[in-house]
């Protein structure tokens, strides 16, 4: 983004976008901020509450604080597990896709399919698939003698949600990695052949370095999406058993729309939003650093 003429008339071009995002983003957030610093005794009767909601939220000894803390921890653990599986798996599969040929088109189309399914249908698919009576997955696992029950066993529930996310979103990592790999000119592979490099050496010295930028994007996207996951676990486990799979989004919606506990919901929303903003900012900085190093 360099060497462009300074032209503040450009704001005209950006105005429609700005208007929409203002409408969809800033105004709602202002509402939330409003609720987060007030309390209500009934309809339209608000009074100032300062940072009381926040203090309760961030204090692990209060009921709400403990609940928030647990949900946050659960969600972070979930994100971590998914990342640890999806990124290596995605890269590995991307390495298996040929660089040329008709198989490429077919593979890309088939892989994209899981990502085009409405998220509650993804939940429904797996709700069916994991049942011991009518689902192949559930029947197979119980048939092998494993104690597998999504609705009653926490470990089963967790494993299932992780499997769902891996099934659903690994194609994204694969597609991004494949795009990155395709961008590597053939000459690099040819030179590596001449240098006598082994397959591992080619991966570590050529492919992985050139995938850096793509992988940062992939990790950012996947972390964000797992951190915000709602529909799939909600449909399959409802957040249970108990609160075993109650991730932050699910908890937030329960509090906001279910219990209509506006103050707590608002405070939780803001903290939640702040976390995602911070992670975004960190990644953005890493990306620009990478770009700057590359151009040097």
């Amino acid at each position: 983004m360099t060497g462009r003429p300074i032209n503040n008339r450009a704001w005209l071009f950006v105005l429609p976008v700005l208007a929409f995002v203002l409408f969809s983003s800033i105004i709602p957030v202002m509402t939330v901020v409003n609720y987060s610093i007030q309390d209500t005794m009934g309809v339209n009767n608000f009074f100032w509450n300062g940072d009381a909601w926040f203090r309760d939220l961030l204090n692990p000894t209060t009921a709400i604080g403990e609940r928030f803390n647990d949900a946050l921890f659960r969600t972070l653990a979930f994100s971590l597990v998914c990342l640890l599986i999806e990124v290596p798996l995605g890269i590995a599969i991307a390495l298996c896709i040929p660089r040329r040929g008709w198989l490429v088109g077919l593979t890309l189309v088939v892989m994209a399919l899981p990502m085009l399914i409405p998220w509650n249908v993804v939940g429904t698919i797996w709700q069916i698939f994991t049942r011991a009576d009518i689902g192949l997955f559930g029947a197979a696992l119980t048939g092998l003698g494993l104690h597998y029950n999504v609705t009653q066993d926490s470990i089963s529930a967790w494993i299932t949600i992780v499997v769902i996310d891996v099934w659903h979103w690994t194609p994204l990592v694969i597609l991004l990695s494949y795009a990155g790999l395709r961008a590597i000119p053939d000459a690099f592979y040819q030179a590596a052949q001449i240098d006598g490099a082994s397959r591992w050496a080619i991966f570590f010295n050529i492919e992985l370095p050139k995938l850096q930028k793509v992988l940062v994007i992939a990790v950012l996207l996947r972390f964000m999406q797992t951190f915000m996951i709602y529909t799939e676990p909600f449909v399959v486990t409802g957040g249970g058993p108990g609160s075993a799979t109650t991730f932050l989004s699910i908890d937030l919606v329960k509090i906001a729309l279910g219990q209509v506990d506006l103050g707590n919901a608002a405070a939780m929303s803001l903290v939640y939003y702040l976390i995602t903003l911070t992670v975004c900012w960190v990644f953005f900085t890493i990306m620009t650093q990478l770009e700057r190093r590359r151009d040097a």
Binding site: P185, A187, F188, Q190, A191, Q193, I194, D195, S198, A296
Partner: protein
């Protein structure tokens, strides 16, 4: 290895050639001698990169055999041929330092550390890379990176041939000359067989001992730069080599005279009558076509170009356009002038192939 032999090497991408057109590289016989520098010269798509990739093993030819000395290596994998290749743009390992880049091929062959370090130092000294050995390869200039690419090829002591695929494409013009001289110095020092692919005739003619001129998959002429200039065997060579290229005039040949649009030219030899229906052309390089105010074939002058060290006149002889050199003593040039052709450097081409005449 003392030589590379191409025995009927031909290549058609896609396997089954139905006609001449399907060949990217038409059948070729040639022997490359060790220690010589060769250039593969030709326009884009003439097959020179295909030929290079066949020699390095990145392409398996659909026909013919490739021999290193007397060993048939046609299907031998690239790893096991002792060749090195330098590509159009620098291929370096971003994450490694210059020293690590140079050491890479030796590490893959499991040489002992001391031997690797010694060899890397040797090559670095030869290529003036000693100062940057510990720097990350990524941050260097394009010409330094190409030197690293070259160094990686030279660092293996069993390498006996180095192949270059238009290596100066991304180099700054100011540094091209320096890098070219360095290549020549390396060639002399290491006595390697070098094959250099380019579409730039100046690069080819200054670098190579012998040039292979290629066009449309065919090796049109193989010879020293002098051969190519003085005795182009094919009209394509005449046209491609030299700036500007050879004048080619349609005409008739009879004995030791040629007739071009009514003007008579003296030929340097006696030529047999060419068979009916074949295209006859008289070729003379502009360097041997001189403008004169006194004797010669009348021409009309279209325009004059002053290139500093020489002046050229673009003239029309009859209906054909040719280029002539203006002798330094000639100062003013009008619309009409005369042109003298040097008979010793006048060639006859029948269907684009040069015909040798008998001595007069």
């Amino acid at each position: 290895m003392a030589r590379i032999t191409l025995d009927g090497i031909a290549h058609a991408y896609g396997g089954k050639p139905q006609s001449e057109q399907d060949y990217a590289l038409k059948p070729l016989h040639h022997v490359w001698e060790q220690g010589m520098a060769y250039a593969l010269l030709g326009p884009s798509g003439c097959g020179k990169t295909t030929l290079l990739n066949i020699i390095s093993g990145l392409v398996i030819p659909s026909e013919g055999r490739l021999l290193f000395d007397d060993k048939d290596v046609t299907h031998l994998p690239t790893k096991e041929r002792n060749i090195a290749q330098v590509f159009q743009f620098p291929v370096i390992y971003d994450t490694m330092t210059v020293a690590e880049n140079l050491a890479f091929p030796l590490k893959n062959r499991r040489l002992p550390r001391a031997a690797i370090e010694r060899r890397v130092a040797e090559i670095a000294a030869m290529l003036d890379l000693k100062g940057v050995l510990d720097r990350r390869a990524r941050g260097l200039t394009a010409d330094a990176k190409q030197k690293i690419s070259l160094g990686r090829g030279l660092v293996r002591s069993d390498v006996s041939a180095v192949l270059f695929d238009e290596p100066l494409t991304v180099i700054d013009p100011a540094l091209k000359w320096e890098l070219r001289s360095k290549l020549k110095a390396v060639h002399r020092a290491l006595d390697l067989l070098m094959i250099y692919v380019t579409h730039d005739q100046i690069e080819a003619l200054t670098f190579a001992d012998q040039v292979v001129v290629m066009n449309e998959g065919k090796a049109v002429q193989i010879g020293t730069p002098d051969d190519l200039f003085e005795r182009p065997e094919h009209t394509f060579v005449g046209y491609f080599i030299g700036s500007p290229g050879m004048n080619l005039m349609a005409g008739k040949v009879s004995g030791s005279r040629a007739l071009v649009d009514g003007a008579e030219l003296q030929l340097g030899a006696v030529y047999p009558e060419p068979p009916k229906g074949q295209r006859v052309q008289i070729g003379v390089r502009p360097d041997y076509t001189e403008l004169s105010s006194t004797a010669g074939v009348p021409v009309q002058v279209r325009r004059v170009a002053d290139l500093g060290r020489k002046r050229l006149a673009y003239v029309t002889l009859g209906g054909q356009q040719i280029v002539a050199t203006i002798p330094p003593e000639m100062s003013s040039i009008g619309d009409q002038a005369k042109v003298v052709f040097d008979p010793a450097h006048t060639h006859v081409y029948v269907d684009d192939i040069r015909v040798t005449g008998a001595a007069a």
